[in-house]
Symmetry: C2
Subunit: 441 residues, 2 copies
């Protein structure tokens, strides 16, 4: 280990220890105290607009010097309007119900013991994320509201912005009488801080990677801290033999093109062969209109060629699909397309290639929709609706810390309850046990 | 890799693939089919009593030759009565409600979309366990009822018994028209099968280690498959300044001695200094009566010596505690004892040494019980009740697959719902998205 790594390890471990102490102080706080602190943070961010914008300008300048694409620079940029928006999002979090203390279930046992299962904070949450500085504030607000301390490991490209935002938030926490160390920013200078975070088992209760597939894979495979896997979305739209074809075109175009850069955008369309000849010319024209390139299987290419020949489609909309296309999360104006012989073939394709995020069926048949819903084991299954609806805001959760694509703990958009655990509280009057029971240890 | 390892890896991976296929067949089964299969399994086990007892006799003979303690041999031994008991437990599982298909939450969104969050099976569950062959059947029954396929990796000491039990269960599954590969036994000949199971990410959905602390630690640290940590219990009883001392003696003796070999048995008693001189002589005498050796701190030793001098306690009940005692899960007729200056000191001791399983307070004070419950972050907190109540059967869950001591997914006794995940089903009528939303990817 180099001495730089040693320093880094110490600093992450030390930060995690401070976070644990802060978490112990946060856990018993009533909602009113946490909400008041969130309001102080929102006010402080607005008041510090000038300093935040100045720090952000550094990141933007570095990004521009590095030749970063303008779309990425746009996501990185903060101005007074965006800071006001971030502050407003914090106030929205303050308005959400506090999950901590909720009695999830309870009963009086036959022997008179009172059993309650109560939501408690997880403790210390680590978040590793890329790019956008607004995540720094969103994540901190959601963790604070749910009684958790947070260790933020953002992108080096937003380092100056993140430092400024965290400094303001920590100052506001102190002002509100809460421990500053409830929100800490880890160094983004090397991957070492991510590695140490992944090894902080016992100090960090959960690690949530948010970002590209390679980051998420690395964290999932290497972390000894429990991980919640988020957000890789190879989403499918299946157009059934009994689909309303006009509806299917709308849903497909919306699923793909309404915002192609996000995880709930569709990446493959599967079309039942019974409707392919009618549906695909309409769909391909609409996708072309939206600027989408289609990576088609042979059947799709054949139908496209005929449509081009008939003057119903311009050339170049469909390119030949290669094997990798079925597993690709384009996050761009591209979509793979295949004709399938049956609903079961569509399900089999999805089982093989999906990342388990969101799949949609378009059909008029209740029976066929039931079969699809039952057979597709993804986070969300849409029936006659766009894949784009898998979203904490759309689901009415008010906010989300990520979209889990794993099966344990949380699956789908994660709101405040997903940032909690539970404990059992059992109250008696001198109760002791006789024989029996199933204790399996 | 040796060729033996290569074969082993292939066989675990192949078993996991077969389990996945079986899991896909189990997932949509209605309760009636699963319950009928459980009844067929129960009948088949009873019918095969002779063969199972003969196989078990092999294991018992090997254990005896190896000089295994009689208490362990007793846990290993199967006879007609115990097999009838195992069959009866299966029928109890059949009587439990089916968690699959339960709508956990649901609403109609403002745009008319119908949102439902529905319980679904996890898929393939891996269980690594030691000793008792009844776990083989219990685990299989709980997994089957919750629609999961199971990979069982039992102890080599129960290999012949486990093979016999699994053979009978697989035959019964086939008879009931369900896939045999829903229940598979992995080789217990080497640790290699455990290692391969831990690396079967994507094929196995969750791994549940049940057994000693070293097995659990190894699985937690090395597995890339998500793990549910179970059952290490360094449990505490805190006797408060305002305790009913007679009640405290009963709860302490029950917590320690009613069944010392299990994870919810108490391993340390903390006594508030205001009551130590009154409480400890009574408690030490009662513990001595129950055959318990007390590893006492200096204050406890002093009070014990005085009691011995006064003829109120025989010698040898209290031995000096060493530093390791506070972190030891004895699982025997031993308990550590310390006098603490305050409730907060008790909480601090518990935070430092507890494994997060179960802690109890004995107090008459509502205010002090509230403070203890809030400050102690363990799976279960008992107020005026024995630690021994942390148990799926006692909690009314009907059965348990283990007691989770982690914070993610499940915490405390895990019944059937804890063997499920959820998925969102969203039904619309051609719904597409406009702008906005919080999708965080």
């Amino acid at each position: 280990m180099t001495s730089e790594q040693a320093i880094d390890r110490t600093s992450v471990t030390a930060a995690a220890r401070r976070a644990r102490t802060a978490a112990e102080a946060l856990a018993p706080l009533p909602r009113s105290v946490k909400d008041a602190a969130l309001q102080v943070i929102a006010d402080a961010l607005v008041a510090a607009t000038e300093a935040i914008v100045a720090a952000n300008a550094e990141d933007v300048r570095r990004a521009r010097e590095a030749g970063t694409a303008e779309s990425v620079i746009d996501r990185l940029t903060l101005d007074a309007g965006r800071i006001a928006g971030i502050a407003s999002d914090i106030r929205d979090v303050a308005d959400l119900p506090d999950p901590v203390g909720e009695v999830v279930r309870g009963s009086t046992l036959p022997n008179g013991l009172e059993l309650r299962q109560i939501r408690v904070p997880l403790g210390v949450v680590g978040i590793v994320y890329e790019a956008r500085p607004n995540v720094t504030v969103d994540a901190a607000a959601l963790c604070l509201k749910s009684g958790n301390a947070v260790l933020l490991r953002g992108s080096s490209s937003a380092a100056a912005s993140n430092r400024a935002l965290v400094e303001v938030m920590r100052g506001a926490l102190a002002e509100a009488g809460l421990p500053e160390d409830a929100v800490q920013l880890l160094s983004s200078e090397s991957r070492e801080s991510v590695k140490e975070l992944m090894r902080a088992r016992g100090l960090v209760d959960v690690l949530i990677p948010r970002g590209g597939a390679s980051l998420i894979r690395a964290v999932v495979e290497e972390s000894t801290v429990p991980v919640i896997e988020t957000g890789v979305g190879n989403c499918h739209v299946y157009v059934d033999a009994e689909a309303d074809l006009a509806m299917a075109v709308d849903i497909l175009v919306n699923s793909k093109a309404q915002r192609p850069s996000v995880c709930n955008a569709a990446e493959t369309v599967l079309v039942h062969e019974a409707v392919a000849a009618d549906f695909l010319p309409m769909a391909l024209a609409a996708l072309a209109e939206a600027g989408v390139t289609v990576h088609g299987d042979e059947a799709t290419q054949r139908i496209a060629a005929r449509a081009v020949g008939e003057g119903a489609l311009r050339e170049g909309v469909v390119v030949p699909a290669v094997a990798e296309d079925w597993d690709t999360e384009y996050l761009s104006y591209d979509i793979a397309a295949a004709v399938v012989p049956s609903l079961d073939a569509a399900v089999a394709h999805i089982r093989r290639h999906s990342s388990g995020h969101t799949e949609a069926i378009v059909t008029r048949s209740l029976r066929r929709s039931r079969r699809f819903v039952q057979a597709v084991d993804s986070t969300a299954v849409m029936v006659n609706a766009s894949t784009r609806f898998t979203d904490g805001g759309q689901f009415g959760f008010g906010a989300e810390i990520g979209i889990s694509t794993q099966k344990l703990h949380a699956r789908g958009p994660m709101g405040l309850p997903e940032l909690t655990s539970t404990k059992y509280v059992v109250t008696g009057d001198g109760h002791v046990r006789g024989g029996g029971g199933v204790t399996s240890c």
